[in-house]
């Protein structure tokens, strides 16, 4: 998708929840904690952080304790437990031993919160990104290897809850697609 405009020059169209989330980080009184958590990656997709994924919702410092709020991606995603553990470890390494991880369900997580840079990182990693469309909507899917849109769906469900299986009919490579939700 080459529109001739660099992603950094594009005016981002953000869902309001995503705008508020970025605002919370920008206005935070403890930016060093958010920075420390940039090292926490999705264990299944180690190229994107929980911040870029939209899972990390808030970080607060209250009387020496760090309260980290995360939102689950899929209801039964086993990676959520690992992410919560990794949050505690990352903060301990940054010198904060008293961390509580809180899970918040509303508003429900959406792939439209995944940041543009992370969508590009997914593609480079070999996963077709979800784009900005919503669940069930038709969106053009391109092979992350050769860029062809001549692809077909093999299965609605792939190697993890968040992915579907596709195959490219030009370069014949099978690939995962991050499902829009």
């Amino acid at each position: 998708m080459n529109t001739g405009v660099r992603s950094t020059d594009r005016i981002a169209l953000l869902p309001v929840e995503e705008h508020q989330r970025r605002q919370r980080r920008a206005d935070s009184t403890c930016p060093q904690l958010w920075d420390a958590l940039d090292s926490v990656k999705d264990p299944e997709i180690p190229v994107i952080s929980i911040w870029e994924l939209g899972v990390l919702q808030d970080v607060e410092l209250r009387e020496g304790a760090v309260i980290v709020t995360i939102t689950p991606t899929y209801s039964g995603c086993p990676a959520m437990g690992v992410m919560a553990e990794d949050v505690v470890i990352a903060l301990r390494e940054a010198g904060y031993s008293n961390t509580e991880v809180v899970t918040r369900l509303a508003p429900a997580w959406s792939t439209s919160w995944i940041m543009d840079e992370a969508q590009e990182a997914l593609r480079e990693y070999g996963i077709a990104p979800p784009g900005r469309s919503c669940a069930g909507e038709h969106a053009e899917i391109c092979c992350p290897q050769c860029g062809s849109s001549n692809v077909h769906s093999v299965s609605e469900f792939g190697s993890t809850a968040c992915k579907a299986l596709y195959k490219c009919d030009d370069c014949s490579e099978p690939f995962d697609r991050f499902k829009p939700i």
Binding site: P72, Y74, S75, G76, C77, P78, L105, A106, P107, A108, W109, S110, A135, G136, V154, S155, E156, F157, G158, S159, T160, A161, L165, K179, I181
Partner: protein, 251 residues
């Protein structure tokens, strides 16, 4: 409205989800082909996740020593309040997919209504579930068409599955005192109001799949009151084995 009633309602929805998820998980490594095996277990995982959220909410309301695990692993058959259709054995692939389709068609509409519940937590859980349910329904509906309009063998198996399941669907659209009370308060879903849309949607898909809609001349109910088929006990003996053998065991 008493919190205790909301707790009971959350447990019911958790029971539906854990039993449905467990039955789907029994297909793990038994799916007809690899991709389908992955799909079945992925859907199973969504339901187990849903069960965890409903049970956690019940435990939070309870405020005692109960956790999500207590509800799943430390109760016996008569304390489970799932709808009977979920506990029926997996059967053949046609049976599992027919059940999944009938319940996905209901489940999506149900979660869309629960999303506007006046209870914030139930609404939040439903908002997550709706997104997943759209994928579930799309897939199970496709399978109805493939199996029903497939070979003679697949058609006959699917027809038999739908016939065998039909009598268990009546219970889905009935409210007892607890659910009626919560529905009046805008907390629970009034499932009686979902019935005619469900029937229309199912009849259309079955029609396209060349499957006859059953007469509906028998029905069986009792799950919400803890009256179960003989199958639930066998399922729980498998599901609960580890926690019964080693109480409190963690990974």
């Amino acid at each position: 409205m008493s919190k205790e009633m909301i707790k009971q309602y959350a447990i019911r929805l958790g029971d539906d989800a854990v039993v449905q998820g467990h039955r789907l998980s029994e297909w793990c490594s038994n799916g007809p082909f690899l991709e389908e095996d992955l799909a079945l277990t992925n859907v199973a995982l969504d339901f187990i996740g849903r069960a965890r959220m409903f049970y956690s909410y019940a435990a939070e309301i309870d405020g005692g020593d109960f956790t999500e695990d207590s509800y799943a692993y430390q109760r016996d058959c008569r304390e489970f309040t799932n709808l009977l259709i979920h506990e029926l054995p997996t059967g053949d692939f046609a049976f599992s997919m027919a059940r999944q389709y009938l319940m996905d068609e209901f489940g999506l509409a149900f979660m869309e209504c629960l999303e506007s519940s006046s209870d914030e937590t139930l609404s939040a859980i439903a908002a997550k579930a709706v997104k997943e349910s759209r994928y579930h329904l799309r897939r199970s509906r496709d399978w109805m068409l493939r199996l029903g309009d497939g070979t003679e063998e697949s058609h006959n198996r699917l027809q038999k599955a739908v016939d065998d399941l039909w009598g268990y669907t009546a219970e889905i659209f009935e409210l007892d005192e607890l659910e009626q009370g919560l529905a009046n308060e805008g907390i629970a879903v009034d499932t009686t109001a979902l019935k005619s849309n469900w029937e229309t949607a199912v009849a259309a898909v079955l029609g396209e799949a060349t499957i006859d809609v059953p007469q509906g001349d028998w029905s069986i109910r009792g799950g919400r009151q803890g009256m179960h088929t003989e199958h639930l006990g066998h399922m729980l003996s498998n599901l609960q084995f580890m926690q019964r053998a080693y109480p409190g065991q963690e990974w």
